[in-house]
Amino acid sequence: MRTTKVTMNIFLFLLLTSTAFTSFAEDLIMMRIKQTFPETMVNLQSAIKQTGYKISRVQRVDIGLTKSGFKTDKYRVVFYGKADEVNQLSIKHPDIISFLPLKISIFAENNETIILTTNPMQLKRFFKDIPDGTFSRWYKDINTIFDLTNTLD
């Protein structure tokens, strides 16, 4: 029994430290928050604003599902952006428009809440004419937003 456990731990350690693993480890950026959905929603919106972005809309996915007769827990999508950045990018690089404004999904799981988004660095390979700094800044800002959401009271 103990041998199996040790073997599994070694296997997991090797997985976590392998180069292949790292290369696609962050297609999605996700965090489980040990707070209820309403608290996390307030903190997320506050964190987005504190990071310098404006919330353009909150899509209530769960409401649409419930109205259509499906049972679901709370599920929202928060759209956000910076007006100048969205305006400039969308004019210079129209193909990026499909990914704007940026968004973070938030959904309840029992008494906890999960927030997630796609890693903006994944877009870099598709939009080589957009300066790298844009995607790395988005990545940094998302991590700041997630950390703030997790730590705000």
């Binding site: 997991l12 696609f24 899509q59 996915v61 499909s98 404004p101 973070i104």
Partner: protein, 164 residues
């Protein structure tokens, strides 16, 4: 068996391991009949911006999707009345389809609601949508791949129908 969270792994680590192990199956990738090299699916429209938006809406309704809303890309970010009317998003949904996708993996909701964007730039009107097949690669889940393939086909048909 003891939870690996108790062993000190984070949920993110566990998700990444699951994704990595699923890769051992050798696929469902690569898609042979699809283009996964593009971030978006895009077609040019021979119609005006207004006609194209109307065509997209008709095509969406024709596929039994529900129109959720139509808005400019920068709506909510700029002052009311200062939105760019040449960049319009049409959000739509089929709640049965959405419910099916969420039941497979609740994280898929971040790609929803469905969206088509109509853009007029330098006198040319284009219709575009994100390529769902690239999203599928984030999960490496066969069932989700099927959903994404279905969505890819739906988007392609909608774009073609609206621009014909």
């Amino acid at each position: 068996m003891m939870s690996y969270i108790a062993h000190g792994l984070s949920e993110k680590d566990i998700n990444n391991i699951v994704k990595y192990i699923r890769d051992f199956e050798g696929g469902p990738y690569p898609y042979k009949k699809y283009d996964t090299k593009s971030a978006i699916i895009k077609v040019d429209s021979p119609y005006s911006l207004e006609e194209t938006i109307s065509n997209v809406k008709d095509a969406i309704l024709g596929k039994n999707f529900k129109l959720i809303r139509t808005q400019q890309v920068n709506k909510g970010l700029v002052e009311n009345g200062k939105e760019n009317n040449n960049q319009v998003i049409i959000y739509f949904c089929n709640f049965n389809f959405l419910n099916k996708a969420l039941a497979i993996d609740p994280r898929v909701g971040m790609f929803l609601p469905c969206r088509i964007t109509v853009v007029q730039s330098e006198g040319k009107v284009s219709i575009m949508a994100t390529n769902p097949l690239n999203l599928a690669s984030f999960f490496n889940n066969k069932e989700l791949n099927e959903v994404c393939e279905e969505m890819h086909d739906i988007y392609t048909e909608l774009l073609e129908e609206a621009s014909l």
